[in-house]
């Protein structure tokens, strides 16, 4: 293998580059990224960076003395993949021919239809998004967050700490019920009301009002919530349009095996755009977790370098964290499919819960709120292969 192209220059792409060098790949390495920035850390964009407590230099994922011997093509979008000569076509009309391709194009924030061109309306996905929002939040005012998921909740928490008047609007009856289940979703979400942040649940958004600048969020039930700033946190979609017609099988992102292999030889997928087969659950699952983007590329790169001849180890159960209102929230495993959830330590009232989700008596997921020590123990236990 003489040339490997890594398409995507965020955490998953960088982890793939590091894994390639670590696993002995010595050839040409081309990294293609649609943003102009070198790889940076996204979790702080809704937290410390948005709050202004850390700056852009703190977000860098590479270290100063790191030399990965890669060619970086930044500010360049991939527009296609040619299966016959395995070439990545770029927006400027050029192409990169490669023997191996790592797809790491991530996901893009969903927007609200009809909100284009209206000032004061934001999503939080990229450094540029966060920079603009940070500057607006610093001016204060009324913020309405559309979507009570993790991004929305973190932005609400940060804005609350900055002194803004904050309202969260969520279409579902209980925010976070998808990832955490109804019971624990309600407990985590109570952090908003604990701090005087308004939470409107079970009501959809009809649209936004405002001439050039947003001035209110209009709800399906007829209410109008005044707003100076609106943040839309309604999920992300995998960035895989560029692969249509390439022969890479797409199904909720790039469909791949438990080793990251796609339907095309010499092409693997990692990160938020990859819908991996999970041997623990026997189903494909696209996981948008930071830790997945960090850990999975090692297996995908091993697959790429070995031509698919390696047997991947059992991946660790998916893990993510969130920081809201000073509470450290940690979650591991799959809440879906659990038939019970019990609080094993702490109390819901004190927001310091350690809760275990079980299916037929077997632990399948764990949630911690300010319980890092116990959470780590449970996380370790959950990672053990089933006996």
């Amino acid at each position: 293998m003489r040339t490997v192209a890594v398409v995507g220059a965020s955490l998953a792409g960088l982890s793939a580059v590091r894994s390639l060098r670590k696993q002995g790949y010595d050839g040409r390495l081309v990294v293609i990224g649609d943003e102009l920035h070198r790889p940076y850390d996204r979790p702080p964009l809704s937290k410390e960076f948005l709050a202004g407590t850390i700056g852009e230099a703190d977000l860098a994922l590479e270290t100063d003395d790191e030399d990965l011997r890669a060619e970086w093509l930044l500010g360049t979008r991939a527009t296609g993949l040619d299966r016959t000569d395995r070439a990545v076509r770029l927006a400027d009309g050029s192409e990169v021919r490669a023997d191996g391709v790592v797809i790491a194009t991530g996901a893009a924030a969903r927007t609200l239809p009809g909100s284009e061109g209206l000032a004061g309306v934001h999503v939080v996905r990229t450094l540029d998004d966060a920079r603009t929002l940070r500057d607006e939040l610093a001016r204060g005012g009324r913020l309405v967050v559309i979507g009570g998921g993790f991004i929305g909740a973190e932005v609400a928490s940060t804005a609350y700490a900055l002194g803004l008047d904050v309202t969260v609007v969520e279409a579902a009856p209980t925010p976070l019920a998808g990832p955490l289940g109804e019971t624990m979703g309600a407990i985590v979400t109570a952090l908003h009301t604990d701090h005087g942040v308004r939470l409107l649940c079970g009501v959809g958004v009809k649209g936004l009002s405002g001439e050039h600048q947003v001035d209110a969020v209009l709800l399906q039930d007829g209410r109008s919530i005044p707003a100076d700033i609106v943040v839309v946190g309604v999920g992300a979609r995998p960035c895989v349009e560029w692969l249509e017609g390439s022969g890479v099988e797409l199904d909720n992102g790039v469909k791949c095996g438990s080793d990251g292999r796609t339907s095309l030889a010499g092409v693997v997928a990692v990160g938020d755009c990859a819908n991996w087969y999970d041997p623990r659950t026997g189903a494909h699952r696209r996981v948008e977790h930071w830790t997945g983007a960090l850990e999975r590329p090692a297996a995908a790169v091993a697959t790429l370098l070995a031509g698919g001849a390696v047997e991947p180890g059992l991946p660790r159960p998916p893990y993510f964290w969130s920081d809201q209102y000073g509470v450290k929230i940690q979650f591991v495993g799959h809440a879906a499919g659990a038939d019970s959830v019990t609080i094993e330590e702490g109390s819901a009232e004190d927001r310091n819960v350690l809760a275990v989700y079980r299916r037929a008596g077997e632990p399948v997921a764990v949630l911690g709120m300010n319980q890092p020590r116990l959470f780590t123990r449970w996380r370790k236990q959950l990672a053990r292969p089933a006996s």
């Binding site: 955490l11 982890s15 590091r18 850390d41 979790p43 410390e48 407590t53 850390i54 703190d58 860098a60 994922l61 270290t63 930071w290 830790t291 960090l294 850990e295 893990y319 964290w321 450290k328 940690q330 890092p372 020590r373 959470f375 780590t376 996380r379 370790k380």
Partner: protein
């Protein structure tokens, strides 16, 4: 400076003991029976490595995914970028002692700010 930690008998394999020094230091007794001491605070954020996940001679931060080498202090992957300090461990008459490093610690942003605030 040699600081007494705890009796070796009180620290089974797989366990960690945190010394409330400033900054705090943690002694790890690995599953292989080795003893190591490193700075307790992750260099990325204010998290106690004593609460972390130890495998071989690496401890994974309990919050994020960075792992620190207990022997050398080096970090394997982001979000942390700087190593932790390592300290010498001595066992005498069944007691664990830590010889504190004289190097400057790599504390995370928030902890440095807090310490600076305390000094001001």
């Amino acid at each position: 400076m040699m600081i007494p930690a705890c009796p070796l008998a009180d620290l089974p394999r797989g366990e960690a003991f945190r010394l409330e020094t400033d900054p705090p230091v943690t002694v790890f007794h690995t599953d292989d029976g080795e003893l190591f001491a490193i700075d307790d605070t992750c260099t990325h954020q204010d998290a106690s490595l004593a609460d972390g996940w130890v495998e071989g001679c690496w401890v994974e931060c309990p919050l994020h995914a960075s792992k620190f080498n207990l022997k050398t202090g080096e970090v394997d992957a982001p979000p942390a970028k700087l190593p932790v300090r390592t300290h010498e461990v001595v066992v005498q008459d069944g007691m664990i002692y830590v010889q504190l490093s004289t190097a400057a610690p790599n504390l995370p942003h928030c902890v440095t700010a807090r310490l600076a605030g305390a000094l001001a």
